[in-house]
Amino acid sequence: MRTVSLLLAGAATGVLYGLIAVGIVVTYLTTRTLNFAAGAVATLAAFTFGTWVQDGWPKILALLASLVLFGVGGGYLTGGVVMSRVRTASETVRVAVILGWTLGIAGVTALLYNTLLPVPALFGEGSIAVGRIRLTSHQFAVAVTSVLLAVGLSIFLRRAWLGLALRAVAEDRDAARALGLQVGRVEAFGWMCGMTLAALGGILVSPLVGGDIRTQNLLFVKVLAVSVLAGMERPWLALAAGVALGMAEAYLGGSGGAWTTNIDLLPFLLMIVGLALGPVLYGNRTREAH
């Protein structure tokens, strides 16, 4: 029974990794860029949400306002204004642009919010029993939301016309234009989706993880590992990989011995294994420069 409780608790943590990984994967699918700015946007959105709730706004309103401001607005700014201008640049340059952008966003956050703001939990503070463990209702709701999001996005990106358009534009811009798509707008929309997911991730996850920058860095690194493990292709797989990582961490973390001290390495070992097995599991994904 203890094992089951451990795995359940681990899954609850893993869902958080998965949620953010879904955002990263979706952004990659729609923009072919690794969204290094996700963490900074998440923090900014979470702090803003927290401030507005503190000022008395109803949570739903604060949530929607944050998502619109940072997701839609921020996404447009990132995609339509900044990234569109370096569209023809190589991947390395675009990563550097995103990194500079991230620095700017993090700086803005530090300017606006001088103290560490505890972010209120969107879904309340009550607790729910799941098996033999108790989770907060927020945790539980986040888990449910993540599953719905991951599955929903997967379907959206594979079946819906808009989802296909997003992916098509990212796959091959000129060919997509040849098919009649408005590539500029679709690309901007792709960034909006990515940033909205990042902002949402921040608002949902911050109350649980905390806003300290080192914690966020660690979390982001794990999320990267999870995304790679999932092959940067399918959102639902990203969520599943996150949950799997969480469960592995929980199970191995307190088992004593070498795993206890080196538990931080687990995501990377899994990632290396995943990349090594990648061509076997996911088909040949290597692409040349052209």
Partner: protein
Amino acid sequence: MLRERAGVAGRGRPGKWVSAITLSFLVASGCGASEQAIRLNSATGQRLSSPGEQAAASGTSQSGAGFEPGEAATDATQGAGPGVNADSGSSSDANSGPSPSAAKDSGAKGGSPVGTGASPASANGAAKAAGAGGPATNTPGPAAPGAPAAAASARTGPTDVGVTDRTVKIGTFHILSGPLAPLTGKDTFPAFQGALDEINSAGGINGRRVEFVVGDTRIDPPTGLAAVKRMVEQDKVFAITGMFDPYTCNVVGAYVDQAKVPVVGCDGSLPDTWGHPWLWTLGAGQKSWSHVAAKFMVEKGWKQVDLLTHTDASYDPGIAEFKLAIEAGGGKVKRVIRVPFDQADYTPQLVQIQSDNPEGVFQWLHPDQAIKLLLAEQRAGYKPNQVFSPESAPRAVPQSVGKFAEPFYIFGSGKAWDNNSKDPGWQRALSVVRQRAGKNVDFHNWPGFSYTAIMLFAEAAKRVGPDLTRNALKQTLDSGTFQVDSFFDLRWDPAHKCPSSYRLAFLQFVDNDYKELAPIDDPYAGSPERTCY
């Protein structure tokens, strides 16, 4: 094809010139810009210590800025010609930058330095004829090495770098910007300033007013080291104290040993802070923490215990010592659990602890981790007997779960750090900080370090007497015992490998307040292998 490309990149030749000019500009500005920036910030007038002296016009700088205007101490001197009025008043300067709050004015450069390697004997007593004394030297720009030793008369006058007969100039560094600033510099810097105000209003150090320059380390070691070097080489401070940044403390040791500049009051949490003859750390090290925690638990009858800590490998020695100490007390550590910093929910760890059913748990965690643990415990309705390490000092930790946390045991190097402690020494420290630095300062462990550091420095410097030199300060610190309001007895071994104090305060949070229990001494205090690094 080639020509087409040449057309595109037709700026080959002009590009070279552009790059050369840009480069020279950047390089030149590297030299000149700092001077320019200082002129922008310069105070009006300058402070001269005595008629016999010269204000050297080297650039002083104040790096970084405080949180809001008014906290930053701008400090700049403008060089001047000879024979300017001597004024050692305390009016605040009108700066173009943020205006400083009450008198953090800067001192003029002292006269020519004695030189860092000068033996105390030569600084005492007899006047030296090693070159120009008196008003002759006016050294613009960085001080030339080997400036003549203008030894003043024995009692007053400049006795060492950064010391004049009216002022002592110190440097300090804090984490003033960046994401961790609200947790650290926001409180540590005002605590330092409060202590400094208190010292100055009580007459300074043997009549010498203490002035300071502050550096922002941004919690980045190379930046911190640069700030320290700037303070030593450009600002010519006498010593560095009142600081808080463990990462910078961790990297400055080799440099300050070579430069023979005292650095007084680093916290000793990182391993390379130890073993430097010119760096004095405060309080007990992690090995002593382990011993004391184990002793507390064993005395309470908690012998089958667990240890929960984070994955930071620099805590390995402490973990090993904890195991040894528990076993020496007849107990056993059933399990050591290490948790990553970004773990959101501590339920998995709690499940494991619960399955062990230990008599006690040593929770060696950072404050945000401790909060998450307590929240998980509250949800699960399971709270083992537990004692927390000093990092969990902020009140927010036990208050995160209200009454559920009580009794909440914790220990620390300082006598107590809570606002309501009854210890008169602590109360004094608290009132000083409140009065001088305002009510917003959360005065706990870390600001306590800054406060203690500057108080300790002042006390040691006072004991040295009027002939204040670096070597004399080192000798005094290394051979005496010091009591500062907020810390227990502090004393150092010459190699600085052992903790400065082996006594730790124990507290219990109950009825929404901290209650002091009996302090505990490290039982291995005498044995270097078990406590020293």
